[in-house]
C-alpha cells in the first residue's frame, strides 16, 4: 500500500464482500421471480466479473513486484489486443479482410500510448517511467474509454454509409471528392464517438462520483487530492478518446472509399 495513504483506509474482509454479494444474489432472485429471462446472463456476468477481478488482482501484485519494462509492455499489448477484439465484435458491419480489427487496434494503440507516455513522463513523473503501478491502471482507464468511443464512432459510420450511400454517390457524381461527399456521414460518426466522453465529463461530480475517485477516498485519500487525480485521468481519457475516435473514423472512411473517389461498400462485410 502507498505509505502516504496508509493508516486510515477501510480494510475490507472476505466476509464483508460475501455479505455485499448477497444483495446481488437477491437481485438475481428477483429477476428470476419476475421471469425476465436475464437471470442466467446476469449471474454469468457477475461470476465473470468476480473471477476476472480476483485474477487481475493477483496478476497486478506480481507485475508490480517485477517492475520489468518488457512485462509491462507485454501486458499493455495484451490489453490492446483484447480492446481491438472488443471494438471489432461491436461492429454490426465490419470492414473486410480484418481491416476493422487492424484500424481499431492501430488507432487505439496510437492514441492511448501517446497520451499515456506523455502523462507518465511529465505529470506523474513515475520512476522508472514504465513503473507498472502507474502505467497499467492508467492505461486500462484510458484504453477502456477510447475503446467505447471508437466502437461507437465506427459503428455509426458504417451504418450511416449504408443508409447515406445514394446521397454520397450523388455528390460524387456532381464532382465532389470522397472527403467532401462523406462529410455529413463523418460528422455524424464523430459526434457518436464523442458523445460518451462529453456526457461523462458534463455529469462528473454532479450526478456521478467517478469510481476511481471514490476508490481513492474510501482508501483514505483526501478528497481534494482524489479530485486532482480524477481531473488528470479525465484529461487523459478525453484526449486519448478524441484522438482515437478521429483517427479511427477517418481511417475507416479512407478504407471504404478509394483513390478514384468511389464509395466501396463492397469492402464492408454483409
Amino acid at each position: 500500500m502507498n505509505p502516504e495513504l496508509g493508516g486510515q483506509a477501510v480494510s475490507l474482509g472476505w466476509l464483508d464482500l460475501a455479505i455485499a454479494s448477497t444483495l446481488l444474489l437477491a437481485s438475481a432472485a428477483l429477476a428470476l421471480a419476475l421471469q425476465l429471462g436475464i437471470t442466467r446472463s446476469f449471474l454469468i456476468a457477475a461470476a465473470r466479473m468476480t473471477i476476472q477481478l480476483l485474477l487481475i488482482g493477483q496478476i497486478l501484485t506480481w507485475l508490480f513486484a517485477q517492475a520489468s519494462l518488457w512485462l509491462t509492455l507485454a501486458c499493455g499489448a495484451v490489453m490492446l489486443l483484447v480492446a481491438g477484439y472488443e471494438v471489432t465484435s461491436r461492429q454490426e458491419r465490419q470492414l473486410t479482410s480484418g481491416w476493422s480489427f487492424l484500424l481499431g487496434t492501430g488507432t487505439m494503440t496510437l492514441s492511448s500510448t501517446l497520451v499515456l507516455f506523455l502523462a507518465l513522463t511529465t505529470q506523474i513523473g513515475a520512476d522508472p517511467w514504465y513503473d507498472p503501478r502507474y502505467a497499467i491502471p492508467l492505461f486500462g482507464m484510458i484504453l477502456g474509454n477510447a475503446m467505447t468511443g471508437i466502437a461507437l464512432g465506427l459503428n455509426s459510420l458504417t451504418a450511416r454509409l449504408e443508409s447515406d450511400a445514394r446521397g454520397i454517390e450523388a455528390q460524387l457524381l456532381l464532382g465532389a471528392t470522397r472527403w467532401q461527399a462523406l462529410r455529413p456521414s463523418l460528422r455524424h460518426a464523430l459526434r457518436s464517438g464523442f458523445m460518451p466522453i462529453v456526457n461523462s465529463m458534463a455529469a462528473t461530480g454532479l450526478v456521478a462520483l467517478p469510481g476511481m475517485m471514490t476508490g481513492q477516498i474510501l482508501a483514505g485519500a483526501a478528497p481534494t487530492q482524489a479530485v486532482k487525480y480524477q481531473l488528470l485521468v479525465m484529461f487523459l481519457i478525453a484526449s486519448a478518446t478524441s484522438l482515437g475516435v478521429v483517427a479511427a473514423v477517418l481511417a475507416s472512411a479512407w478504407r471504404v472509399t478509394d483513390h478514384r473517389d468511389r464509395l466501396r461498400l463492397d469492402r464492408l462485410r454483409s
Partner: protein, 204 residues
C-alpha cells in the same frame, strides 16, 4: 469521322459486364435497351467510374485514367434511376439555386421548388430536379438511366425537349430506356445489352 466525344475500349467487370467497344459522337444520342438485370446501370456506373472496372474510357481522346475522378464526373455526368439527396431542402443541392429556379418552369416544376423541403417531393419531381442538377453543371456527356420513368406525358415531353437541345448544342447522351417509342423519338443510334454483353449496332 471526327474523334468520338466519348469512347470506351475493353470495359469489363468479370462476370457482370463485357463491352468491347462503345463510341458516341458529339450531337448523338445512343439508346441502350435490354432486359432488367442485363447490366445497363452497371454500364453507366462503369463509364462514370463509380465502380472499379477494367478497360479505358476517353473523352475527346483524353484518357480517363489521366484525369482525377471528380474532374471526369463533372464532364461525364450520370443521373441514376433513383436520385440521391443529402440535405433537407432542395436549394442546398444546387450550387446556384437562383439560376436553377429560372429553369423550373421549363421542367413543369413550380418556381418555388428551390425552397421546398426534400420530403414533400414526389418521385417525378426528384427525377426532374436531379436531371436539372446534372445539366446545370454543364457536362459534355449525359448518362441517363430511365430519366422519365415517373413522369406524365407533358413533363416527359418537356424533358425530351431539353435533351434534344443538349445534343443540338454538341453534347452527347447515352440513354438507358425501356420505352421503345422514346428511343425511336430521340435516338440517333441504338444498341442492346444482354447478360452483361453490349451487342453490335441495330439500325435506329
Amino acid at each position: 469521322m471526327a474523334a468520338p466525344l466519348l469512347e470506351a475500349r475493353g470495359l469489363s467487370r468479370p462476370g457482370l459486364l463485357q463491352v468491347a467497344h462503345l463510341s458516341l459522337q458529339a450531337g448523338e444520342l445512343l439508346a441502350i435497351s435490354g432486359p432488367s438485370g442485363a447490366g445497363k446501370s452497371l454500364l453507366l456506373r462503369a463509364l462514370v467510374d463509380l465502380d472499379p472496372a477494367e478497360g479505358e474510357v476517353f473523352l475527346s481522346s483524353l484518357a480517363r485514367s489521366a484525369q482525377a475522378a471528380p474532374a471526369w464526373r463533372r464532364q461525364v455526368a450520370y443521373v441514376p434511376a433513383e436520385s440521391g439527396w443529402w440535405e433537407s431542402d432542395v436549394g442546398s443541392h444546387f450550387s446556384d439555386p437562383k439560376a436553377a429556379a429560372a429553369w423550373l418552369p421549363r421542367l413543369h416544376l413550380s418556381e418555388g421548388a428551390m425552397d421546398w423541403s426534400l420530403q414533400r417531393l414526389s418521385t417525378g419531381e426528384r427525377q426532374r430536379l436531379a436531371l436539372l442538377r446534372a445539366l446545370l453543371a454543364k457536362p459534355k456527356v449525359l448518362l441517363l438511366d430511365e430519366p422519365t420513368s415517373a413522369l406524365d406525358d407533358a413533363a416527359e415531353a418537356a424533358v425530351e425537349t431539353l435533351l434534344s437541345e443538349f445534343i443540338s448544342a454538341g453534347g452527347g447522351i447515352i440513354l438507358v430506356t425501356h420505352d421503345t417509342s422514346q428511343a425511336a423519338r430521340l435516338a440517333t443510334r441504338s444498341r442492346r445489352l444482354e447478360a452483361g454483353r453490349l451487342l453490335d449496332e441495330t439500325p435506329a
